[in-house]
């Protein structure tokens, strides 16, 4: 074996290993969506565990041999994709390169669905403070969100969740790979600024004389507000 294939990466692999590795490469080449380890295991007639190990080894090999493609685990399966380094070449070629750039409104809505799913449109709207019907329609059309059920409550509101396409878009294998939401809770500074901005008590309880410019200076010694959260 090793004599026949001096450059072979898995120099020590036996005939069975070689066959499995080659079959996995062939199947991964033809799949149009990430190939789950379960399906791949079934096709190779080996255990899921062994399949996962095989794919991980292959991925590492492509990495080590500095290929222009990668084998990655995305949205619950394995797929070939181009190495990110080579984006400049691929973007020159692929017609709809970077077509899927999302607007801020879409991203914020998607973030809420991702972290709070299942969630209704009304609940999302309550968080964003704006109507989200249009954004949600676009996100559904693009396949990033989908109906996942109905609220058992009286309204029977449709509940939404993110899709495998969303995970693919972000290059994630599963939702738990998203950074924890706790990382984004506003810092004490921001919280304080918001609290200060919404002080209900007047600055010095003296409204301005109409039309005058003075007197409205923000009082420096604002009295501390009790933090309601603590």
């Amino acid at each position: 074996m090793t004599e026949e294939h001096p450059e072979q990466a898995f120099a020590g692999e036996g005939a069975e290993e070689r066959e499995l590795r080659r079959a996995a490469e062939a199947l991964l080449l033809v799949t149009e969506e990430p190939l789950t380890a379960e399906l791949l295991a079934q096709l190779l007639e080996i255990s899921v565990q062994r399949t996962e190990a095989l794919c991980s080894e292959l991925a590492a090999e492509y990495d080590a041999t500095d290929r222009g493609f990668q084998l990655v685990r995305v949205a619950g399966g394995w797929r070939y994709q181009t190495h990110p380094d080579l984006a400049p070449y691929v973007e020159r070629f692929v017609l709809d390169g970077q077509s899927g750039r999302l607007s801020n409104a879409a991203l914020e809505t998607l973030a809420i669905v991702a972290y709070k799913q299942p969630i209704s449109r009304a609940q999302i709207a309550a968080i964003r403070g704006v109507n989200v019907d249009g954004v949600m329609r676009t996100l559904a059309q693009r396949g990033y969100v989908d109906e996942v059920g109905r609220d058992p409550g009286p309204g029977q509101a449709v509940l939404y969740g993110t899709t495998p396409t969303f995970l693919e878009k972000l290059g994630l294998n599963a939702l738990d790979e998203l950074p924890p939401l706790g990382e984004f809770v506003p810092s004490a500074d921001v919280y304080e600024a918001l609290e200060k901005g919404l002080r209900p008590d007047a600055l010095d309880a003296e409204p301005d004389e109409p039309g005058t410019d003075e007197g409205a200076d923000v009082d420096e010694d604002v009295r501390p507000v009790d933090d309601p959260g603590e």
């Binding site: 999302l102 991203l107 998607l110 973030a111 309550a126 968080i127 506003p186 007047a202 409205a216």
Partner: protein, 278 residues
């Protein structure tokens, strides 16, 4: 969606806050509030509340299949803002009802937590955009199987007739039933603070003075009254009118004092422009 333009500040405002950014476009009231408080560090006292309330009314207008709960939530937040602001605008007579005070704090805390939540997801969205951009540099292979295998695929149209196709088309274009609560009555009462100000500017010079009850006699909906009240506060703050309320909880009288002398401004300069593109 109707974008909110922060109007340029007229000289009538005590402090020319840095809101005169060219034409920043905001996504609704939370976005606007967060921007004003965090970026511009504006105190609520200085915020043109009509912008925010109008933004809420605009959102109510845009709702298609929205439930009443959300409509109520929006109104509650708008009302909280009005209350917070009016408390700062009006003279403190020292005669504070403790229950009211506590209720206001509670509402304030609700609004605060909403803003914090909104800000949290805004920041999460920024992180997600970065992740998506990184992922977007890799392109998956979507080529599929080679043509020599296509013969293996079963003929999926074997049992399909042209009539099946027609039926499928009609099914596809049929309106999808969306369960919704009709909130037409909310549409009907949509009125902006800007409109209300314009009406007052039309009425008050002729009337000279009027009680608030008289000014709102023709209004049916509570929301309209709230908006009218906000318009009165706006005019008061800008020095067009005087307010008299001799006894607590007594009738509020609005007195037209005319255009503030020192301000040679027309209506547009005072910022009485539409706060959003409807």
């Amino acid at each position: 969606m109707p974008s909110i333009r922060v109007p340029r500040r007229g000289a009538a405002y005590p402090r020319a806050v840095a809101v005169d950014v060219a034409t920043p476009v905001f996504q609704g009231p939370f976005d606007l509030l967060l921007h004003l408080i965090l970026q511009d560090q504006v105190d609520l006292y200085e915020v043109r509340l009509s912008d925010i309330v109008d933004a809420y009314l605009a959102e109510l207008e845009r709702m298609e299949g929205m439930d009443l709960e959300l409509a109520t939530e929006f109104l509650l937040i708008a009302a909280t803002l009005i209350e917070l602001k009016s408390k700062r605008l009006l003279p403190d007579d020292g005669d504070v009802d403790l229950d009211d005070e506590l209720a206001l704090w509670e509402e304030r805390d609700l609004l605060l937590s909403r803003l914090v939540e909104c800000k949290t997801f805004k920041d999460a969205a920024v992180a997600m955009a970065t992740i998506a951009n990184d992922a977007g540099r890799s392109y998956p292979r979507l080529v599929g199987v080679e043509e020599r295998f296509l013969g293996l695929l079963p003929d999926l149209l074997a049992e399909t007739t042209p009539d099946d196709l027609r039926a499928a088309f009609l099914r596809a274009v049929a309106p999808k039933p969306v369960p919704r609560v009709h909130i037409d009555h909310i549409h009907q009462i949509r009125v902006t603070v800007t409109d209300a100000v314009a009406e007052l500017l039309d009425e008050l010079p002729r009337l000279g003075r009027a009680t608030f009850a008289e000014l709102t006699a023709d209004l049916v909906e509570r929301l309209e009254v709230v908006v009218r009240f906000l318009a009165v506060l706006e005019l008061y703050k800008q020095g067009w009118i005087d307010l008299q309320q001799p006894e607590a909880l007594g009738a509020l009288t609005v007195v037209w004092t005319g255009r503030p002398d020192e301000l040679e401004l027309d209506v547009d300069d005072l910022g009485f422009v539409d706060a959003y593109d409807g």
